[in-house]
């Protein structure tokens, strides 16, 4: 594609973003301000992740883009197309084949490796934002390591509801220093954040980048007597039978019957290919055999 520079952004801009990424990796969990550019997709639709991916991609990379764990959701399709067009890189839906994975709201089920980079799209990078609306104040709180407000919030949740009423974007503390927003992933994914791959977080509208180097310590905030719990729907996947994957709930009919399927579409498909069948898939294949016979 000759109309655009490789991966759309000009080299100066990419250099500026790479500097922010390096600073982020050097200070894990710290939100580095960067001069976010207007992208040809709207703010709030992954412009931060797109800019980080653009600055990260090389022509040899293989890119995977997921939204809600799926490669086929409309915005994932749109972002993948954008890089196919502007960077001409290879794309894949297979987690293991990808060298760069851009994600919104999920971490793939399959363990990532040291030669992979996971890029998160982040709407509101500030974990303290809904406790304190002012950026001036929250930056001050981070620099003073003043996280009492967050603990009070979690405590009040327990006092009111008997549990911490945060189910996604569950705050984490990095290497005992910065409290960080993991982006709106379900808290089920939080433990996966201690991983072999590099994790980069881009918030375009809010002009922030932050990062986690491999094997960085990531602790979900909790209390001794109310320990953090990574929860998911109490079912197995009806398609592939997986009991350890995060599930989407799908409404099947007018009567409101539900089924549960893996939100990570690649994980589910590869398990089915390997012969694992969930309740619904097994019933369907039995029915199919019956008609054939």
């Amino acid at each position: 594609m000759s109309d655009y520079n490789f991966a759309y952004l000009d080299e100066q801009t990419k250099r500026m973003i790479r500097r922010a990424i390096l600073k982020g990796l050097a200070i894990p969990g710290y939100q580095v301000p960067f001069a976010s550019r207007e992208m040809p997709m709207p703010y709030g639709w992954g412009t931060g992740g797109v800019q980080v991916s653009a600055a990260t991609l090389t022509p040899e990379d293989t890119l995977k883009v997921i939204d809600q764990g799926a490669d086929d959701t409309t915005n994932a399709v749109s972002i993948r197309k954008f890089f196919e067009k502007t960077a001409g890189v290879a794309t894949t839906e297979e987690t293991a084949q990808a060298s760069v994975i851009q994600t919104r709201h999920r971490i793939p089920e399959e363990d990532l490796r040291e030669d992979q980079i996971l890029v998160y799209q982040v709407p509101i990078p500030e974990p303290l934002r809904f406790l304190e609306p002012s950026e001036i104040e929250t930056r001050k709180m981070h620099s003073l390591e003043e996280y009492g407000l967050m603990h009070v919030k979690l405590y009040e949740d327990i006092a009111k509801h008997g549990a911490i009423a945060t189910s996604y974007a569950y705050p984490v503390k990095i290497e005992g220093r910065y409290v960080m927003d993991p982006s709106p992933i379900p808290k089920f994914d939080n433990p996966k954040m201690e991983m072999a791959a590099i994790q980069l977080f881009g918030a375009g509208r809010e002009q922030r980048i932050y990062a986690l180097p491999p094997y960085c310590q990531v602790v979900s905030l909790d209390f001794e007597d109310y320990p953090f719990e990574a929860s998911k729907a109490d079912h197995a996947c009806d398609m592939c039978g997986a009991t350890n994957s995060y599930l989407d709930e799908v409404i099947m009919d007018d009567a409101g019957n539900r089924m549960f399927v893996c939100s990570d579409t690649d994980y589910c498909a590869s398990r089915r290919k390997a012969g694992h069948l969930g309740a619904q898939a097994a019933a369907a294949s039995a029915a199919l055999k019956e008609t054939a016979a």
Partner: protein, 364 residues
Amino acid sequence: MYVAVKGGERAIDNAHAWLAEERRGDLNVAELSVAQILEQLSLAVNRVMAEGSLYDPDLAALAIKQARGDMIEAIFLIRAYRTTLPRFGSSKPVETADMACDRRISATFKDAPGGQVLGPTFDYTHRLLDFALAADGEVPEVNRGEARKEPTPHITEFLNQEGLIQREVTSEETPGDLTREPLELPANRPLRLQALTRGDEGFVLSMAYSTQRGYARNHAFVGELRIGKVAVEMDIPELGFAIEIGEIELTECETVNQFQGSKTEPPQFTRGYGLVFGQSERKAISMALVDRALRWEELGEDNLGAPAQDEEFVLYHSDNIQATGFLEHIKLPHYVDFQSELELIRKLRREAMENTTPVQEAAE
């Protein structure tokens, strides 16, 4: 049998094809040309240039056509295009005192050198639908006057001479660039003015209006409002001097605000400043009022806690491209977050029910 939803790609292609068809509308009606938009919807073109931060009437007109008249969408197209443009230099500050004014009015002096020139304004039109315009838009011949040759001095200069109005501090420092550096707070006035001039017209208008209604009232007079063309000059290193590279239309508004004096400043008039691409006077006046409200600290005034005084609030929420993007992103799938909320709600409800059941039993 459940089949995982596939076909996002085809759905997107089909949506785009339908969108293109809707944009064109009924094929029996002549297609709108970019030149027609440029010539006959020029105030829309001006707004797109101002909030798109790019002075290019042809591209702004094209954007309006492509966006089916959705102004924010058109502004977005221009912004996204603008970021791809290389920077090959910066112009010298434009001299609005040398503006060739189409319109120039003052609400503070009945007459002043240069006079009151109404220009092409809606101000004194009666807002009656002109049904004749539905049939044909021909305009009668009009009288033409001689253009003023000499420059038109700024009204506030006269107050300046008497020392009645606060002097602006001049600085040789190169101002920051909102579009090239991350916004860090507290910002300074150049950054605030940049944010306001490209800010959403509706937002800036409402902020300004709120100051008029008492949220940090700063009682503004329109000292001067001028609209016209100014030359853009640029130093060319190879030549060693500045040359004129073109001209742009601007609207400039200087407000004169009452000021009783503060702990640090004597009683004097103070200023608010608005400068916007094209003929955009509602925006320029609004900008001046908000600029003035944001200057409370510099003038030693009290922070009344009004929204228009809150730099962080104004700067973080004035950009309609940021706002609309984030607002509309809630259309995107949130299955995963919603699923985790579903489970949480079910769990909390189950626990709440368990806690209340024994009481009910006792009552029975």
